[in-house]
């Protein structure tokens, strides 16, 4: 009897029992697919053909094939360019600047600018892609304006595909960074800045010595979130350039789609998706590490 009561009062058992529905669901729908992904990436499973009926384990063949594939190299390079330029530099800097410049400004002004920037963020990716396609296409708005002021029209999506998709992604995602930084900046106690001001620190010093160090934690969280989000961007690029021309704007998600659903090589596609997953984990660990050593 006493034993039973002890069991009943054990907080771990209680947690386990009451948490079990959620835990089972998580295992089933999150961990399950990840394990399946890892398993399938070592097979030659296909969407159709003989390998759809009976697939075989092929060891590391998918991975060795990937590293020999010049398209894979191009996609990795494009992914890194896309990630660094649009997410790490573009969205972070633009988002921070907007948040910083708006700090302490009049409320109506803040709401108006905030709303405009947010509009880009709440617009679904596919709509963003179509809006910008209309803006950048050969006889789109931008070229009409260029011609009006007497300049030569430019085939933006064709001649500058990476620049175009990077730019559009900055436009689309900057609002998220802005929100994060706004919250972080609001958390800095007014007194510290005032004290620094009295001590004679100029605006530059205050930004460099006080603001940035104090929001470092939020910045890293932000980096992790934005990185993972950007690694998975598919719709935007697919609808804007289709990864082309050639494979000039093919990032890893598009490359994976091509192999899995255009060439029907599910096993190979899964292996590529695993690489994306690993890349995301690796980068996240790197940021967190960076945060810790600095503290």
């Amino acid at each position: 009897m006493a034993q039973r009561r002890a069991l009943r009062n054990n907080p771990y058992i209680k947690t386990l029992i009451f948490g079990s529905p959620a835990i089972i669901l998580m295992l089933l729908f999150i961990l399950g697919p990840i394990i399946m992904t890892i398993l399938f990436s070592f097979t030659d499973i296909a969407l159709t053909g003989a390998a759809a009926k009976e697939f075989e384990f092929v060891g590391f063949e998918n991975f060795s094939r990937m590293f020999k594939d010049p398209s894979f190299k191009t996609s990795v390079i494009n992914t890194i360019i896309f990630l660094v330029c649009s997410a790490l530099i573009g969205q972070q800097v633009v988002g921070f600047l907007i948040a910083y410049l708006m700090k302490g400004k009049a409320r109506p002004f803040r709401s108006l600018i905030g709303l405009l920037v947010l509009a880009g963020w709440i617009t679904p990716e596919i709509v963003v892609a179509f809006v910008w396609f209309a803006f950048l296409s050969d006889d789109g708005t931008l070229n009409t304006i260029l011609e009006f002021v007497g300049m030569e029209p430019v085939a933006w999506l064709l001649n500058f595909p990476m620049v175009s998709v990077v730019f559009v992604n900055i436009w689309h995602g900057a609002a998220f960074c802005m929100l994060m930084y706004q919250a972080a900046l609001d958390d800095i106690p007014q007194e510290i800045e005032e004290a620094a001001k009295i001590d004679g620190a100029n605006a530059w010093h205050r930004l460099w010595r006080i603001t940035l160090p104090m929001i470092k934690g939020s910045a890293v969280t932000n980096m992790v979130l934005v990185t993972l989000q950007t690694l998975g961007v598919f719709t935007l690029i697919f609808a804007l350039t289709g990864g082309g021309p050639g494979n000039k704007s093919t990032t890893l998600p598009l490359f994976m789609y091509d192999e899995a659903f255009v060439n029907y090589q599910l096993g190979y596609g899964t292996a590529i998706s695993l690489v994306i997953l690993l890349l995301g984990i690796l980068l996240s660990l790197l940021y967190i590490r960076f945060l810790k050593t600095d503290d």
Partner: protein, 446 residues
């Protein structure tokens, strides 16, 4: 009291959750309760001519079979997505339709994967089966020799040329090129007169169009093949392959093709067929038999006078060697998935749809000899000419690896089009790509 409300609330929530889970589950068959049978057919939409044809057959079929309802489901998708959506539906017996519209490009792999039901016995007992062209039957034959569907259409490729433009340049009408050089010199002659002297699909963005409309008709005209049926190997290096790439390179490096600023984009095909050809800015276009469909009254770019301006010539072989001309055919079929609920009824339906009286699929080339002889069929412009191309046509080696091989061909074609690679480099790259993708042991050089 409050506690009581809370408990009730939780109870309702849990039962709602449980209910929704069961609702997601078993829905074994969509048959109505009173013994009625529902026969589901899926097709790649939009395709108005297919839909209206099927609706007619549905009416006749339902009148003949009491208690059977035919449900025609449009799968809105482009050529790239339809195969995926279709396969995912066929994979499970819960979602599988009873009849699928099947591209003959996918038929062999889908049969190999076990998605399709062999219907050889049913067709061999069917008196109409003799009326189908032997060459078209090849498209519905699986690797195991069984039949997996009934063809509903076939297609060919040829040289669509503008009579006015060529005649003004002093070329004799009707234009009958006998070698590749004849084609290129005609394009050269009209080079300064039009925006696009000679249109060929040669970019990755056109996908299979580049392989099938341009590369393979040319390749088969050199006497080379893409696949060695005897050795079961892909041919990754041959003189014909190199000649084909050189031809494409010649077109673009001599400004005989479209401007490179748009030639390799996904919009290029539509720009040529719906804008530039009606504006008489294209001299010659190597394209499929469906091209004039754009200019009909109900097409994308109605051009009532097109018959006065445009004529069709078969693509000659490289040096005029036997059989003189070259083309490639594909086409569509109706098949029965192996997970279908009502296989016998499904076979009955597709037989009824493809009888001499019923098989009317817009302006598509017919797979039936007896329909090809009808006056009504031959009244369509150039229909008899296009049908005659079937005598020297070729079919793609649509084995499991074909989509990857085709992708690599598109890479090679685009590389020589943009001048990023010489034909020799592009063929070397193709060889490396294919050896990597299908394994070196499955390839050979010629």
């Amino acid at each position: 009291m409050r506690n009581w409300i809370k408990r009730l609330f939780i109870l309702v929530l849990i039962s709602l959750f449980a209910f929704s889970l069961t609702a997601c589950g078993d829905e074994d068959s969509n048959d109505a309760e009173d013994g009625e049978k529902t026969l589901e057919l899926i097709y790649q939409a939009p395709d108005d001519t297919f839909e209206s044809w099927m609706n007619k057959v549905k009416e006749e079929f339902e009148a003949e079979h009491d208690g059977v309802e035919v449900e025609i489901t449009a799968i809105d998708s482009d050529e790239g997505d339809y195969p995926n959506k279709k396969v995912l539906m066929m994979k499970s017996d819960k979602t599988s339709p009873d009849i699928v519209m099947e591209d003959t490009e996918q038929l062999k792999p889908d049969a190999e994967a076990g998605y399709l039901e062999p219907i050889t016995d049913e067709l061999e007992d069917w008196s109409d089966w003799d009326q189908f062209y032997e060459s078209v039957k090849e498209g519905v034959t699986g690797n195991d020799g069984e039949l997996y569907g009934i063809p509903i259409s076939t297609d060919v490729r040829g040289l669509w040329y503008n009579k006015n433009i060529l005649e003004n340049a002093g070329i004799e009408m009707p234009w009958e090129p006998e070698t590749w050089d004849d084609v290129l010199s005609a394009a050269e002659a009209i080079k300064d007169d039009v925006e696009v002297p000679f249109w060929i699909n040669s970019g990755k963005a056109m996908g299979e169009g580049t392989t099938m409309q341009t590369f393979l008709p040319l390749l088969y005209g050199t006497g080379s093949e893409l696949y060695d049926e005897e050795d079961d190997k892909w041919i990754v290096e041959s003189e014909g392959f190199l000649d084909t790439l050189k031809f494409i390179e010649h077109v673009y490096s001599n400004d005989l093709g479209a401007s490179l600023s748009w030639a390799t984009t996904g919009q290029a095909g539509a720009k040529v067929s719906t804008e530039l050809m009606p504006e008489e800015e294209v001299g010659i276009a190597l394209d499929g038999n469906w091209l004039p469909g754009n200019w009909e009254e109900d097409g994308n770019a109605p051009w009532p006078e097109w018959e006065d301006a445009i004529d069709l010539a078969p693509l000659p072989t490289k040096d005029g060697q036997e059989p003189g001309y070259s083309t490639v055919s594909g086409g569509w079929a109706l098949s029965v998935p192996s997970n279908a609920d009502h296989k016998d009824l499904a076979v009955e339906f597709i037989k009824l749809a493809t009888t001499k009286d019923n098989l009317r699929y817009g302006t598509q080339l017919t797979p039936r000899e007896d329909i090809a002889e009808l006056d009504e069929y031959n009244q369509l412009t150039y229909q008899d000419k296009m049908t005659s191309f079937l005598e020297f046509t070729n079919y793609r080696p649509t084995y499991d690896e074909y989509p990857e091989i085709s992708s690599n061909i598109q890479d090679a074609a685009e590389a020589v089009t943009t001048g990023n690679m010489t034909p020799e480099e592009a063929m070397e790259q193709f060889k490396e790509d294919v050896e990597r993708d299908v394994g070196e042991e499955n390839t050979k050089k010629e």
